[in-house]
C-alpha cells in the first residue's frame, strides 16, 4: 500500500501548472467568455508542444499511452486554470477512442492532428445531445445507437445552447450517421470512455475547487472591514476551514479512482462514481463559501471568481450529478434501493 504519485507524475503536473500559469491567466478565460479569441490558440498549441495533448495516444500514434494515473493531475491543473477548451474530450476520451475504434481513414485524417494539437475532438456519448467548447471543435466523436461515429465538425449541424458558463460555448448537435463517419463499435471501449470522462471531470472539479479556495483565502487576507482583514473573523475562518476539509477529503477519492482505472480494478466504475460525488459536492460547497466570503464584489462579473463558480455548477451536473452517482453507489452497496 503506497498512496502517492511518482516524481514523474508530479513533474508532469508541475509542467502543466507552469504552462497554464504562463499561457492561461484569468484574462484568457475572460477573453473567451467575452467572445474574444474564442479558440485560445496559444494555450492549446503550447499544451500540445509540451506533449500534454497527445500523451494518451499510443506510441504508434506519437503519444505515450499515458494512463489515468498520469493524466489525473494534469486535468486537475486544467480545472485550476479553467482552461477554455475541449481538453477532457480530446485527451481523456477522444484520442483513445479514435485510436482504438477509428478506421485507418479516420486515424490518418484526425489522430495525428489531434496529437499535435492541430485538431480538437469533442465527444457525444449515447444520448448526449449537447457538447461544450464548440468554437474549438474540429471533429466530433459520437456514440449513437450503439455505433461509433467520427464526424468532421463542418458536417455537424449545431444550435447554440448558451450555458451559464459562456466559455463552455455549448451547442446541441445533429449529424447524419452515414457510413463515411462510421468507426468500429465496441461497448466496452465506450463504457470505459465514459468512466474516463467522468474521472477527468472530477479531476477538473478538484482543480476548480482549489483555485476558488486560493482566490478566497487571498481575498480574506486583503479585504479589511472593522479595521482588520475579514479573514481574522472567526465566521470566515471556520467557513474556509470547512471548505478546505471537504476539498482535501475529496481529492484522495479522485486519485484512488484514477488508480483503479489505470490498474483495471473491478471496483473502477464505482470508484469513479465515488470520485464524482466527492469532487462535485466539494467544489459546489467551496464555490458557495467563496462567494459568501467575497460578498458583493464576488457577485459581479468583474471579479474572476464567477468564471470558476459557473464552470463548477456546470461540471458538477455533467456526466451524472451526485444524485445519479449516489444512486449507482447505493445499488452497489445496498442492492436495489428499498425506496
Amino acid at each position: 500500500m503506497e498512496f502517492a504519485f511518482t516524481d514523474d507524475q508530479k513533474m508532469l503536473r508541475d509542467t502543466v501548472r507552469d504552462v497554464l500559469e504562463r499561457e492561461c491567466p484569468p484574462e484568457v478565460v475572460r477573453a473567451v467568455w467575452e467572445g474574444r479569441g474564442a479558440r485560445s490558440e496559444e494555450v492549446w498549441s503550447t499544451l500540445a508542444d509540451t506533449g500534454l495533448i497527445g500523451m494518451t495516444a499510443s506510441e504508434a500514434a506519437g503519444g505515450m499511452s499515458m494512463t489515468e494515473l498520469e493524466w489525473v493531475l494534469p486535468h486537475e491543473e486544467i480545472g485550476y486554470a479553467a482552461v477554455p477548451g475541449p481538453y477532457v474530450d480530446t485527451v481523456a476520451v477522444g484520442i483513445p477512442i479514435l485510436d482504438t475504434l477509428g478506421t485507418d481513414a479516420h486515424k490518418s485524417r484526425w489522430l495525428g492532428p489531434a496529437v499535435s494539437g492541430k485538431a480538437r475532438i469533442v465527444v457525444a456519448f449515447e444520448g448526449q445531445t449537447r457538447v461544450p467548447f464548440s468554437e474549438g471543435a474540429d471533429v466530433l466523436i459520437a456514440q449513437r445507437g450503439g455505433e461509433s461515429f467520427c464526424v468532421p465538425w463542418s458536417d455537424v449541424s449545431t444550435r447554440s445552447e448558451p450555458s451559464v458558463d459562456r466559455a463552455r460555448q455549448l451547442v446541441s448537435i445533429e449529424f447524419d450517421p452515414s457510413d463515411a463517419y462510421r468507426m468500429r463499435s465496441d461497448k466496452v471501449s465506450w463504457s470505459t470512455a465514459k468512466d474516463r470522462a467522468t474521472l477527468a471531470t472530477a479531476a477538473v472539479l478538484a482543480g476548480l475547487s482549489r483555485r476558488m479556495l486560493d482566490m478566497t483565502v487571498q481575498y480574506a487576507k486583503d479585504r479589511e472591514q472593522f479595521g482588520k482583514p475579514i479573514g481574522a473573523q472567526q465566521a470566515v475562518k471556520h467557513r474556509l476551514a470547512d471548505a478546505l476539509i471537504q476539498q482535501e477529503f475529496a481529492r484522495p477519492m479522485v486519485y484512488k479512482a484514477a488508480w483503479s482505472m489505470a490498474t483495471a480494478q473491478t471496483s473502477a466504475s464505482i470508484d469513479v462514481s465515488v470520485a464524482k460525488i466527492y469532487a462535485s459536492d466539494a467544489a459546489k460547497f467551496v464555490a458557495r463559501q467563496a462567494l459568501q466570503v467575497h460578498g458583493a464584489i464576488g457577485y459581479t462579473i468583474e471579479c474572476d471568481l464567477h468564471m470558476w463558480m459557473k464552470r463548477t455548477w456546470a461540471l458538477a451536473a455533467a456526466l451524472g450529478d451526485s444524485a445519479f452517482h449516489r444512486g449507482r453507489v447505493a445499488e452497489h452497496i445496498l442492492g436495489t434501493p428499498e425506496t
Binding site: 448558451p162 451559464v164 475579514i230 473573523q233 470566515v236 458583493a296 457577485y299 459581479t300 468583474e302 444512486g327
Partner: protein, 386 residues
Amino acid sequence: MDLNFTLEESAFRDACRTWLEAHVPRSPLASGDTREGFAQHLEWEHELFDAGWAAVSWPKEYGGREATLIEWLIFEEEYYRAHAPSRVTQNGIFLLAPTLFEFGTDEQKARILRPMARGDVTWGQAWSEPNAGSDLAALKSTARQVEGGWRLTGQKTWSTRAAFCDMAYGLFRTDPEQTRHRGLTYFMFPLRGDGVTVRGVDRLDGDEGFAEIFLEDLFVPDADVIGEVHQGWKVAMQTTSSERGLSLRSPGRFMATASRLIDLFHRHSRDSTPTLRDEVVQAWLDAQAYRWFTFETVTRMVRGQTMGADSSMNKVFWSEMDVRTHETALALIGEALELDEGAPSAIDRGHWLKGFQFSLAGPIYAGTNEIQRNIIAERVLGLPRK
C-alpha cells in the same frame, strides 16, 4: 387568535386577484435589471399606481389605499401568485418611503412620494462604498455645507439599478471632526447632471443590476436632507431595518416559488434521487413557516410593537431558504441546469438558474448574514460584543 381572514381581508384579496388577473402582462417582461426591461417595468408601475395598487398600505393622499399590514401581505401573496413583474420601484417604496414617513417633512412627503410610487421618479439606494460594506460606518463620502445646501463628494457602490434611476439616497459625513456613526447626514441626491457619474456593473447573472456612483461637488439643497444634520445614522438604521425586515421579502414571493418547485418536481423527479422529495417538501414547509412567522410578527406590529432585531432572524431565514429552494430546483433539473435563458433546450426558460443566481445575493446584501447573526447573538440573546 383567529387565523381565518376577515370578510374585509377576503374581499380585499378578491379585489387584488381580479385586478391582477385582468392586468398582469400575459408575456413576461424583460428583466427589470436591464435598460430595456427597466422601461417596460416602469410602464407597469404607472398602471399599478393609476389603479391604486402601487403602495396599498400608504395614505390615500399619496396614492395608497390605507391597507392594513395584513392586507399588504395579502396583496403580496396575490401579486406573486399572479406572476406579476418584479417591482423596480422597490428601493423607493420599500426602503426610502418608510424613512420619509418617519423622518421626512410634509413638504418632502408631498413632493416625493407620489412620483416615487408611480415610477415617474425612480430611486436607487447608495449605502455601500468600496471600503464600507459590512462596515457601513467606515464610509468616506463627505458633504460640505454651502449657501442654501451641500456639496457631495465621494464614491458609492452596489447601488441597485442606479444605472437607470433618477435619484438615490445615502449617508455622507457632514462633520469631519466626528468618526464612525457620528457626524453623518442622510441625503437624497440626483443621479444625473454635473458632479455625478454612474457606471453600471454587470451582476453574476449578466444583468446590469449594480452601479458605481462617483460624486464630485454635487450640489444638494437643504430640502433634500432627511432628518437632522449629523443624525443620519439614526435615520439610516430605520431604513436598513426595513430593508432587512419583512418589507423587502414578503412571504408571497416564497410561497409562489415553492408551488412552482412542486410543479417542477412532478415534471422532473427522478427515482435515482429519493432525497429530492424531502427537499421539495422542506422547501414548501419553510415557505409556510416563513408565512406564519410573518403573520405573527405583523400581528405584533399592528399592536404597535416594533420588529427590532427580529428582522435579522427574518432575513437570515428567508435568504437561506431561498438559496436552498433554488438548489433543490437545479438538482431536479440535473444536467440541463446550466442552460441560460436564451438556450432552446432550457427548462422553464432558464428561470431556475436565474433565480438561483439571484438567491445567492440574499445572504450578502442588506447586511451579510454574518452581520445578522452577530446582531441576533448580541441584541436578542445578549451575548457580549467582545
